[in-house]
Amino acid sequence: MRILKMQSKFLEVFLESLDKFGQLYGPKDKNGVLSYDRLEDISELVITDEHPMIPIKKLFHPMQFTMMHFNKKGFHPDYSVIEKRVVLGVHPCEIHSLLRLDDVFLRDPIDPYYSSLRENTAIIGFSCLPTDNSLCLSTDTDIVSEGFDLFFVNLDEFYLVWIGSSIGYDMILEREEFFDYDVSHDDIQMYIEWRHKRNRMFKKSFEFASMPDIMELSHESEVWDYFGDKCLSCGQCSMVCPTCNCYNVTDVFDVTNETVGRRNRVWDSCMFVDYSLVAGGHNFRASRADRLRLWYGHKLKTFGVDYGRPGCIGCGRCVDTCPVDINVLTISEALMTKEVPKK
């Protein structure tokens, strides 16, 4: 991997030039909400330490899309969601979340929609500083070593630019004059200071590494009942969690027709009461406590057995979002201390 240097003043012009590699996407302000979306103009891009409310999964595992059309002749895949794209301003935790989703969707048999969206999308990562609820130092997802084409670390007057792929190199070659191949000792020193400064800025942490064992030991814990009583089953945690990948499939007839229609995929959440309901009425997870344990199992424990590490990437969105304060911090603290939070 090559690491280059670029003066900050070139940033906007350089990013704009990347539209040769695909439609530009990135965080932008949409009615007051920071949201990953198509950029009509580079000036719309908002590079900030804040996370977009809905994580980057929405660009690869869309909230709702048509998988197939059907008619009298059968089912016909619809690949219209796929386009060549360049996503700008992607934080390290988000890149880690895509690597987690890869484990699911690219496992054999691969999901053709997700894999094609991945294959056709370049990722331009950006460093960030911790916000109030950032937990990525705890989950070891504050730094990325793979999963991007270019990665920019902001050291104020200049950026250090990691090249992560051959396409990333092609992008540099478009505007080679902006880049300096010599990174000096002083530059390295500035980078080290930036990391130290950043590491000291984290306000919250939890014992992520201990959680798989603690979760296993706490399977019967009353902590699940306590949080189960509070949980509203609203599913917001799943919508904002970058590694929640569950979806439902529904068939929809075209308005004027009884043989022609679409098979759609739409996000689902294991927090919803009908998540494990089968025909005939048996519900394998009728209680909220059971559903919460499944959710937190995936984030803090069980994803690891198959895929190397649990699902949580420490973005803190569950801390920001849950209306009744159920999140990786309150759950892990209750499991560690056997104390349920005060009302």
Binding site: N71, F75, P77, P109, D251, S276
Partner: protein, 282 residues
């Protein structure tokens, strides 16, 4: 060329024809189906215990156990209870109508550990549908197995599935069949009581040389497994098949997750040993 143009879409169901159907009992129907593509029909193979995803366009898609045996290729057999929107639509289909299927999915029963051993098959209610696959597989390859015992319990004689077929098996001397119903009726000549009562008919077993499979409603597993354990059958030689909600069949949609396992990929057949390690299994 992009990837989607070269790989086959695993979600795309293939057309199949209903070859024949008849009612097993009230609201339970037997279907024979065949891929319309003749090559696909003849090359489609599976393990007993696997399932398919069946689609009716506009209604949806759901998993169904395969009830036929791969030793009789060409036609797939399903036993279906009318219990939801999809099965209601399925019951409206006539012979020669087209439905859509994809699969086979899941692991199936671990046959390799059953060869040259005794086998006890225990079915409760609808659980007999997937077990019919291994039952006929074993009978079609009878020389590969030692003694075979088939126990089946239904609620009443009216709920007894595949009655004619299974009672014919009683005439064979290479399989012992024991049937029971919870509540008897006038013409019932077999046992009465829950399925565990049938264990008294078993001769002396050599537990290490015995495999056991059980499929039935969730409440049944504990009681039947207790009987297997009383016989001292090793925990990894007891296999059971689980039902879960599934939307994809290939480990993507998440619905059938049990801890880190996907019932659709890692199951639906698990050993009793597995269930001890994954507490939510049964």
């Amino acid at each position: 060329m992009t990837l989607v143009e070269v790989i086959e879409n695993p979600f795309k169901p293939k057309a199949a024809r209903i070859v024949r159907h008849y009612d097993l009992i009230k609201d339970h129907r037997f279907f024979q189906i065949r891929h319309i593509d003749m090559k696909k029909a003849m090359s489609f193979t599976y393990n007993p215990g696997q399932f398919i995803m069946l689609s009716i366009p506009g209604v949806g898609e759901a998993p169904f156990s395969i009830s036929s045996t791969p030793s009789r290729p060409g036609i797939l057999e399903l036993g279906v209870r009318k219990t939801g929107k999809l099965t209601e639509a399925f019951f409206k289909k006539k012979d020669n109508d087209v439905i859509y299927i994809r699969g086979p999915y899941g692991n199936g029963f671990k046959l390799d550990q059953m060869f040259n051993k005794d086998l006890i098959i225990v079915a409760g209610g609808l659980g007999v549908i997937p077990l019919r696959s291994i039952l006929y597989y074993v009978l079609d390859n009878r020389d590969q197995f030692n003694r075979v015992f088939f126990m089946y319990g239904a609620r009443t004689p009216e709920d007894f599935l595949f009655k004619t077929e299974f009672f014919q098996l009683k005439k064979r001397d290479d399989i012992d069949c024991f049937f029971t119903v919870d509540k008897s009726a006038a013409n019932w000549t077999e046992d009465v009581g829950v399925v565990t009562k049938l264990f008294k008919h078993l001769p002396k077993m050599n537990p290490r040389e015995t495999n056991a499979v059980v499929v039935g409603p969730p409440v049944m597993y504990k009681f039947v497994i207790d009987e297997f354990l009383k016989l001292k059958i090793p925990k990894n030689q007891i296999q059971l098949s689980l039902e879960r909600r599934m939307k994809c069949g290939i480990g993507k949609c998440g619905h059938c997750a049990i801890e880190h396992l996907y019932t659709c990929m890692d199951g639906p057949v698990f050993t009793y040993w597995d269930t001890l390690n994954f507490r939510e299994l049964i």
